[in-house]
């Protein structure tokens, strides 16, 4: 019999609602698991053990009294530590926010609570979500549960690692340039970046607002669809939230892909992508074909410029967003602050921010400064238009685009962190979906040795249902979703 911590969210909810198990027994099984394995992984920055147990007992009481409970009744959700949680420390994995306790909940957290989910803890990440390895965290790196010497991907590395190590049943991440899909690929879970505007960013600590979205990570497609259906939808507190009728994401989970038109961007299978990765993605494409999908190669020539374009825009936005950390209203402030304001401000930020955050703030400041604005920032925004047009064109002919999520399998902790540019190159396949705002998913599609490989699929705005349909088809026919590392 599977242990409670191994079950899917749908199974847990059904068993709790039918009183086959109690929410308290389930949450204790998750907590025991965390206490046993997180020493090796370091997926969590902050745990909420007693609040979680209290919430579980409250749900059990409601059920025994016959009261209505929410759609996520009792389910343990791990939340990335850049999403504000009322009364629970939210650090962005930065020293500058080491002791920050938000006085309000992000909209997605309100929605989780409304559906009786249980927030089990806040997960580790690259500092301010700036990275693809979870190594830049002030609280130390997270380790990949499949091989503790490897990175789990990032920046939502703690969320993905917590899931596959069965320390949570669902998780939230955020994706600015691949930060949900990269760790989903490296940890072998499903991770979805929604269409820009589908999920409220209210309460998400900003890194690059025009690029980022909060999204679900899960161990099954149906769980991923369920979590997305709880967090999506219009929010007047986010001026970029879109007010449209919402899809029923669970409807397309049939495994039937007849007539699905799949485009394979040849730039996604270029020389920078390792052969082992291509091999596994191709096996998955053949599975999609056997289920009725038809595929054809397509070219998106401007993808060559996507990475530089992305980094210029992301850093520019970061330099503006992170100007708020002055150590005045919240955040780190030096003890001896009797020098003048601007020197104290600069000192707070040297000590409070890690090297990568400072690099990005400074490069963004440079790209926006007089004399360089046209050359870097404005030029990048124009190329963003060209890339968008190419995707629009390609997705007239195809329902989805498919390729690898990451150009290489998980690599060693410490291997690339010393060289920022080499590390940036890892994001080459994920950033286009952020530049265009299109929805994208990473789906487990194989293992190279014991290391997971992910397939990425991108579609038109608000076509998350198609991405989940493909995920479900691979889940039932490829057999990689559901495997767990030995811990």
């Amino acid at each position: 019999m599977p242990k409670l911590f191994e079950l899917s969210a749908l199974d847990i909810i059904e068993k709790i609602k039918s009183q086959e198990i109690t929410a308290e027994d389930y949450i204790n099984s998750i907590i025991e698991r965390i206490l046993r394995v997180d020493k090796k992984i370091n997926a969590f920055i902050t745990l909420e053990i007693s609040k979680a147990q209290e919430k579980a007992r409250e749900i059990d009481r409601k059920i025994s009294r016959g009261e209505r409970v929410g759609r996520l009744a009792g389910v343990a959700v791990a939340v990335k530590d850049n999403i504000c949680t009322l009364g629970i420390r939210t650090t962005c994995a930065s020293r500058i926010l080491e002791n920050f306790i938000p006085p309000y909940d992000a909209t997605v957290i309100e929605r989780l609570k409304h559906e009786d989910a249980i927030i089990i803890g806040k997960t580790n990440m690259d500092e301010f979500a700036m990275g693809s390895t979870t190594e830049t965290s002030y609280f130390g790196p997270t380790r990949n549960p499949w091989d503790l010497s490897k990175v789990p991907g990032g920046s939502s590395g703690g969320s993905a690692a917590a899931l596959i190590a069965d320390m949570a049943t669902l998780a939230l991440g955020s994706d600015t340039g691949g930060s949900i899909r990269c760790p989903a690929s490296y940890c072998s879970v499903i991770g979805l970046k929604p269409t820009y505007g589908l999920v409220s960013r209210y309460g998400l600590i900003a890194y690059a607002n025009s690029l980022e979205q909060i999204g679900p990570l899960a161990k099954s497609t149906a769980d991923c669809a369920l979590l997305l259906s709880v967090i999506d939808g219009y929010d007047p507190r986010d001026s970029t939230s879109v007010n449209i009728p919402l899809n029923d994401f669970s409807k397309g989970l049939t495994g039937d892909l007849r007539g699905l038109r799949v485009g394979l961007p040849k730039e996604f299978f270029g020389e920078g992508v390792e052969d082992s990765v291509k091999r596994h993605v191709w096996s998955a494409i053949h599975i999609l074909e056997s289920l009725g999908a038809v595929y054809e190669e397509v070219s998106l020539p401007s993808l060559e410029y996507a990475l530089a374009t992305y980094y210029i825009i992301a850093m520019s936005e970061a330099s503006s967003n992170l100007a708020r950390y002055d150590g005045l209203r919240y955040g780190y402030r030096v003890e001896h602050d009797d020098a003048d304001w601007s020197r104290i401000y600069a000192r707070n930020r040297r000590i409070g921010f890690g090297a990568e955050v400072r690099r990005r703030i400074m490069l963004g400041t440079y790209a926006l400064s007089a004399g360089y604005y046209e050359q870097y920032y404005l030029k990048a925004l124009k190329i963003r238009t060209i890339i968008r047009r190419e995707f629009e064109e390609a997705l007239k002919k195809f329902d989805v685009l498919v390729g690898p999520t990451m150009p290489l399998p998980p690599f060693n902790i410490g291997e690339k962190i010393g060289d920022p540019l080499t590390l940036y190159m890892c994001d080459v396949l994920t950033v286009p979906a952020n530049l265009t705002g299109y929805p994208a998913i990473s789906i487990p599609c194989g293992f190279e040795g014991k290391l997971p490989i992910g397939l990425q699929s991108i579609s038109k705005p608000f076509n998350e249902d198609l991405l989940l349909k493909i995920s479900f088809a691979l889940e039932t026919n490829a057999g990689f979703i559901g495997r767990r590392p030995e811990l």
């Binding site: 920050f100 410029y305 150590g327 402030r333 400074m362 404005l378 925004l381």
Partner: protein, 97 residues
């Protein structure tokens, strides 16, 4: 040799603009790293962007307004809860002039 895009003095200037103190070693290291990164960024020079409008934002939303009505705001205490230094109902700032 690769083109020098940014000098150590310019890095110091940007750090000042961004309000980030740097150590001497960091100035040297960042200058070297920034030159490599900017060199990579300049790849975008190859793209012809004549008559292409910039995309600031991927949505077609323009000027999202709401009614100018007073909503609920956070109580004073919870706004001040994270302030490193405070006095009464105020944040306490370092000396400005």
């Amino acid at each position: 040799m690769r083109k020098q895009h940014i000098s150590k003095e310019e890095v110091e200037h940007v750090a000042w603009l961004a309000h980030i103190e740097l150590t001497e070693e960091e100035k040297t290291l960042f200058t070297e790293q920034f030159n490599r990164i900017l060199d990579f960024f300049r790849k975008i020079d190859e793209v012809n962007t004549d008559n292409v409008p910039p995309t600031h934002h991927v949505l077609d939303l323009v000027n999202v307004f709401r009614e100018d009505e007073v909503g609920e705001t956070l109580p004073n205490d919870s706004v001040l809860i994270n302030a490193p230094k405070k006095e009464g109902r105020f944040f306490k700032s370092p000396r400005i002039v």
